[in-house]
């Protein structure tokens, strides 16, 4: 059942984003920012965490979930370290995701050659 929930929730988030891409003139960069900020806001409103427990990877993998991750990290850091936590928390929480992206991207660039789009 976990798998099914992850599947349809993740798919729904992607489908809604695709509608934004096709029906509006929003540039991809702006859409990504919208997703991250929305995730952060939903996290602050205590909505995203229960949503993530329900949908698992379907809620944490899309960019919406990244916004929530940022929010959680900052919130924890502020509770532990006070004001300076605003600057510390975001990167600590997202460190694994960002490092993985960098490392795998670099490895891919070593192994693969640039190819034309068909």
């Amino acid at each position: 059942m976990d798998y099914v929930n992850a599947f349809w929730v993740g798919g729904l988030i992607c489908a809604l984003t695709q509608i934004l891409m096709e029906k509006t003139k929003m540039l991809p960069g702006r859409i990504m920012v919208l997703l991250v900020c929305s995730g952060a806001v939903l996290g602050a409103l205590q909505i995203y965490e229960p949503f993530r427990e329900f949908a698992g990877a379907g809620a944490s993998v899309p960019l919406l979930g990244f916004g929530n991750t940022l929010w959680k990290g900052i919130q924890e850091a502020v509770q532990t370290d006070g004001f300076i936590g605003i600057f510390m928390g975001g990167f600590t929480a997202s460190a694994v995701g960002i490092s993985a992206a960098l490392v795998f991207g670099y490895l891919a660039s070593l192994i693969f050659q640039p190819k034309m789009k068909k």
Binding site: E22, K25, P28
Partner: protein
């Protein structure tokens, strides 16, 4: 004796002849409707180089060399090159034509560069500044995406109104020796901006510029659209074409029966996933060389107006919220008998 006519045009007294032209394209263009007409179709789009930018330089070098060969000329016979491309600081042109050791005027007209380079080359020959002059331009899909949008590795999605930058280079040798083709006049475009801010809909951004130059050409030379067998734009695509015909109708000229667009001709949008059509400096250059000039040579067309358009934005101007201005350069090419 003044050769200027009207406000933006020149009618050449000693009209230069087109000595030869050459076209080199990538694999997608080779698979398109005009595929068999191009001089050279690359087996891959790297053309033996390591980077896309070097590949584009090689395209220019090969096109120029082939055009010289066809005209039976050596590089020492060429007085000037007028050349440009889409990349920042025109690096494809610089590195591509370096070895030819010919005095170079580097140009930027975005996708109108074929028109701009042919105009200036024609002016140079007609005024007696050179017996043989070369005009060359190129574009490459991968290097253009990296320049204007995102590198291919980013795997971004392209909307349906986006055009596909042609991988190709077209080179033209103009000179005083008699041939079947002459450039008899030019109409030089002004920057025209209707305030379009959609960088994914270039056709709409450039159509006003095409309208402006075509209109001025017809007025300056006192012609009607039917005086041309074809009025050929570079890359307005289907969207831009409709807008152009509409804008000109409002000014009293109906070009719907004679209009042709290189971007629409070069790709089959049904099978090749090219959305609104081809674009880039190479689009109009290779189509002119491979498809249009042969028809003029045979006398099928007697007179055409070649008027490629360019979108004069940069990533900086766009990100700073500016609109997309356009320009179009008109070149009148005639069958000389």
């Amino acid at each position: 004796m003044s050769q200027t006519v009207g406000t933006q045009s020149i009618r050449f007294e000693q009209a230069p002849y087109i000595q030869s032209s050459a076209s080199i394209v990538g694999t997608k263009e080779g698979e398109g409707p005009l595929g068999k007409l191009f001089d050279v179709v690359g087996s891959d789009d790297k053309f033996g180089e390591e980077t896309w930018e070097e590949a584009e330089s090689t395209l220019q070098k090969e096109a120029a060399t082939l055009a010289l060969g066809k005209a039976d000329l050596k590089k020492e016979n060429i007085r000037y090159i007028f050349g440009g491309d889409l990349l920042g600081q025109n690096i494809a042109t610089t590195f591509g034509l370096m070895e030819l050791n010919i005095p170079l005027f580097g140009l930027y007209g975005a996708c109108s560069t074929a028109g701009e380079s042919l105009s200036l080359a024609a002016m140079a020959v007609a005024a007696g500044y050179g017996d043989n002059v070369l005009a060359v331009t190129s574009s490459h899909f991968a290097s253009a995406e990296k320049q204007f949008r995102f590198p291919l590795e980013y795997a971004s999605q392209r909307p349906l109104s986006a055009t596909w930058t042609v991988t190709g280079s077209g080179a033209f040798v103009l000179g005083t020796k008699r041939s079947h083709l002459r450039i008899t006049g030019i109409t030089t475009g002004k920057v025209v901006d209707y305030g379009v801010k959609d960088s994914m809909n270039m056709g709409a951004a450039m159509a006003p510029a095409a309208c402006d130059t075509i209109y001025q050409n017809l007025v300056d030379f006192k012609r009607q659209p039917e005086d041309y067998d074809k009025i050929i734009t570079g890359d307005l695509g289907t969207v831009g074409q409709e807008i152009l015909i509409d804008l000109l109708k409002k000014k009293g000229y109906d070009i719907s029966t004679v209009h042709m667009d290189c971007g629409i001709e070069i790709f089959d949008s049904e099978t090749q996933n090219t959305n609104a059509g081809g674009s880039g400096c190479g689009c109009s250059a290779v189509t002119l060389s491979a498809y249009i000039l042969p028809k003029l040579e045979k006398g099928t067309y007697k007179r055409v107006l070649f008027v490629p358009t360019g979108a004069l934005l940069s990533t900086v101007s766009f990100n700073e919220g500016q609109s997309v201005p356009g320009i179009a350069h008109g070149v009148v090419i005639e069958y000389a008998g």
